[in-house]
Amino acid sequence: MTIAFKPLETFRDDFSFSNSDEAILRFPFPFPEDRYRYTVNTEPHVRAGPSPAYHQVFDIDEHYIAEHRERALVLERDPGRCQVLPHMMAAQWDTLELIMEALALDYPALFTLDREGEAWRWINRPLNIDQAFVFGRPETLPCPPFEYITRQAQGDFTLQDQREGTLFMDGGMVTTQADWSLAFDLGMTFHEWHGPVPLAHELGVFDRALQYLLRLQLGHPVRRLNWTMTVHPRLDTSPELYPVWGPDRASMNAGNVGRTLNLRVELQTLFRLPRSNAILFGIRAYLISLEELSRVTKWRKRLHRVLRDLDPVLVEYKGLARYRSLAVDWLAPGDDGAPLSRGVGPDQDRV
């Protein structure tokens, strides 16, 4: 597998990010039906699924190098985007091991992990890294192990400690988030950090999801999708930077909405970690503009229907209120109302 990286694209300032035809077709489209509703839509994270994005433990795509640079820029300004509480050191090493093993296995041409007992050597060719270190000895790495490996991964990660019958968010690397803050949520329980989500508490979704996660087993990770919309391909829509990105929402009009509004899908993965018994939560964001997405006929029609009929409470929660009607009006001419196949597949081989 060769990936044509696009190292110069940006997620800020001139927003030069874009998706190749191949990236459009492998986009993890989240709507299997014309109507969106909350469900505990969690399934085993196995090497199968309607998009190649699901087929690796951690998906690496053409945006890898550019996302690495974007993360470094965010951390330079705000080092607090990566924090791990002191009792989570075993979970830090668990995370490093999991990500290194998975990348080396899934992308042998890009990553190599050599191990001689505790003496490890990690080679990351896309980022020109060749690092020898001693597993379990933080001083042999240039930064703590969780930060070290998540700087080299796509998407955000949080660490959940399991105790007292619940999960505590006791660490994370969060630089590509949809308007939530690690600094605010750090140390919270599962129900506390989900507090702001509407509707789902009353449906018992979080009680059931927590019971499921407490029994998550080593070697049997699970995944789910979440979605929202973002103005411009901006990865860092954090509360800390609201003054920077908040005003973008008022900048859209019928002429630019197709270009500037992006569907943002999070491929969320959950892994039980072996030494710490903690859970690693990966939140991998994929962005696609309405114009790019519209090149897939089924997705264009389905997104139109989902946005048109979305529950007003969710419109408000996801922050879509200011521009939803612009998006619906832009998509409407491309939807003839014909029935669509169930499922999320694109139903076409090229765009």
Binding site: R163, R215, L218, G219, P221, P274
Partner: protein
């Protein structure tokens, strides 16, 4: 990582510790590193012999984090459901067996200021992997083992390498549980695994001494034997006989019913099934008092029936 399931292991050593205890050393059949395991983890052995099958859970007693071998200790159960006898009598070095990846429902408490570990008989096995980690972290602990006079030597040999904070008590009368619990500093977590009576004595003494429930941890792999009964599956009308030396879960599995399960010890709640008629004999640690009294739910891995038949929502 997404592991192949099951893991195939080869028996490297099978060494008797006593007339009823055997230590098995398992290594990966393909030589690839095993998943690392934390203290408190167990694996489920999937055993097969002459048309019979058993799923038995055993705690890992190997050094935590080792990836070249797993070690377990197996007691031959007197009224054996067959799995432990099969391990003792039939399995030999070189044989291959299927294992689950490690499952951990009994991990150390990262926030504990002190660990108080109490084992009863072979129930001490999930606690045996705690001291190496706690010593490496310089975390204070003490371990108390209650055993019979005949097995004193066995447990002394197994546990004394863990240092001066290990105490062996011969018989339940020899251990002052209320005294031990009362003199622990605030922030101590107690971990107990052993016979039902010992676990009840510890949890009762902890409650009496004012310990918060969240600081009390217990795990049991008690055999789920008792009087035979019949399980009736409401949706299909099938009637499945549950023998006296077989758990309800095992009877369902043997009948080809796809029943959920995870810990197989009444702790995790995964195997919970609705009861439509009949009275369950609850032996789990998962259901609340009101849920037990309600009688509408059962943990199939350990609980049985007080009535000749149980009608299950299956």
């Amino acid at each position: 990582m997404i592991h192949g399931d099951p893991i195939i292991a080869r028996i490297r050593e099978s060494r008797p510790l006593s007339p009823t205890l055997k230590r098995l050393v398992l290594e990966p059949a393909d030589g690839a590193p095993l998943p690392p395991a934390a203290p408190g983890a167990h694996v489920t052995l999937r055993l097969k012999s002459a048309g019979r099958a058993w799923n038995n859970a055993y705690s890992l007693v190997s050094e935590p984090g080792r990836r070249d071998r797993y070690e377990i200790i197996v007691r031959r159960v007197h009224a054996s459901r067959g799995g432990s006898a099969h391990i003792h009598d039939t399995l030999a070095p070189g044989d291959l067996i299927d294992l689950s990846a490690p499952i951990n429902l009994f991990p150390p408490a990262a926030s504990a200021r002190r660990h108080l570990l109490i084992g009863g008989g072979v129930g001490v096995t999930p606690l045996m992997s705690f001291p190496p980690l706690l010593r490496a972290l310089r975390a204070p602990f003490e371990l108390h083992q209650v055993c019979s006079a005949a097995e004193r030597g066995v447990f002394e040999a197994l546990l004394s390498p863990h240092g001066p904070d290990v105490h062996i008590h011969v018989g339940r009368g020899a251990i002052d549980l209320p005294g031990i619990l009362e003199r622990q500093p605030l922030g101590t977590h107690v971990f107990v695994c052993g016979p039902e009576a010992l676990m009840e004595a510890v949890t009762g003494a902890a409650a009496a001494a004012g310990w918060p429930a969240s600081s009390v941890h217990q795990e049991s792999f008690a055999a789920a034997s008792g009087a035979p009964f019949t399980a009736v599956l409401a949706r299909s009308g099938r009637r499945i006989a549950v023998a006296g030396n077989q758990s309800l879960l095992e009877a369902l599995e043997a009948a080809g019913v796809d029943a959920p399960s995870l810990c197989r010890g009444g702790a995790c709640g995964e195997c919970m099934i609705g009861v439509l008629d009949g009275a369950p004999d609850h032996r789990d640690h998962y259901l609340s008092g009101p849920e037990r009294a309600g009688g509408a739910l059962i943990m199939t891995c350990v609980s049985r029936a007080r009535t000749p038949a149980l009608v299950l929502d299956l």
